[in-house]
Point group: C2
Chain length 162, copies 2
Amino acid sequence: MSEVAQQSESERDERVEEALQAFYERLQEEGLKSTKQRDVIVERFFWLDKHISADELLEDVREHLPRIGYATVYRTLKLLVDLGFAVPKDFGDGQTRYDPIHNQDPQHDHLICVDCRKIIEFNDRQLNERIQAIVAEMSYTVRRKKIELYAECTDESCPNKG
Amino acid sequence: MSEVAQQSESERDERVEEALQAFYERLQEEGLKSTKQRDVIVERFFWLDKHISADELLEDVREHLPRIGYATVYRTLKLLVDLGFAVPKDFGDGQTRYDPIHNQDPQHDHLICVDCRKIIEFNDRQLNERIQAIVAEMSYTVRRKKIELYAECTDESCPNKG
DNA sequence: ATGAATGCAAAGCGTTTGCATCTGG
DNA sequence: CCAGATGCAAACGCTTTGCATTCAT
């Protein structure tokens, strides 16, 4: 089934809350600290919940903490990746984007509109099964996958409305 | 059917010859020139026939043309991409790799061994069909796809023999 | 107090570009 | 000849790092 996730505001709040809690638990486990900057960056990261670049996140966070440096954003993103809360992705536009991992959809794939650059997430059972089979046939076990379908829209609903 | 391409020396020669001829045809069409450097870079690129980085290609070409600059390699790779003879790929190791397009297998996918970093090409009909279906269902048409399966070997034949 | 986090600026790295020079058609 | 190609070095954009200062625990 290919479908894009839908979320209400309260679901979003809840998800952010859960993610933050899990994050702070891991922080403590590692003996790392909670700081104003870190808190804001991580919260905005989970809240925005999209394939965000360091740049975009910095810009967003600057609204709350004007004096924050980009090094802090990069370091926090690295931390999120190291602790397993984000996955770095490259969509070929020159900068790394970071994908938050919400537990419910651990490894979705992407369709990227070549017209408006919109990124649509999907998850397809049959596709995943076929992949498992292909890899098993070659005597491998999948660790992670990266599937990006660059496509153009066939009807009016999309182009250049991103 | 998932399978890795096998090629004899003569097949390789033939393939390189074909590719070079097509390339020089396109060059002329565009009113561009054939030069010593360009010739060597392109020939080595087709000959080596792998996901090569600008760096690796430069190193190889330097054996034939010691005074070549990296700008020339980058420019030639860009030319190859623009003329449709190569596709840039990012496997997350910090540098762009260039995949030569041989006519016979225009859009294969990749399995990357997480142990030895070996890159195995494959092409699976069922997978492609499912992808077509997924994208069509979302009212899109596939332009190109990027599928990378990061996996670890399940038997003795692979690890760290890359 | 003490190890960690921040901010700033500088450095890194792969890639691109400006420009004077060379070269192929 | 002259547009196009080269080589060099400088510029680039994104990311990382060194270091002195500040902060959380």
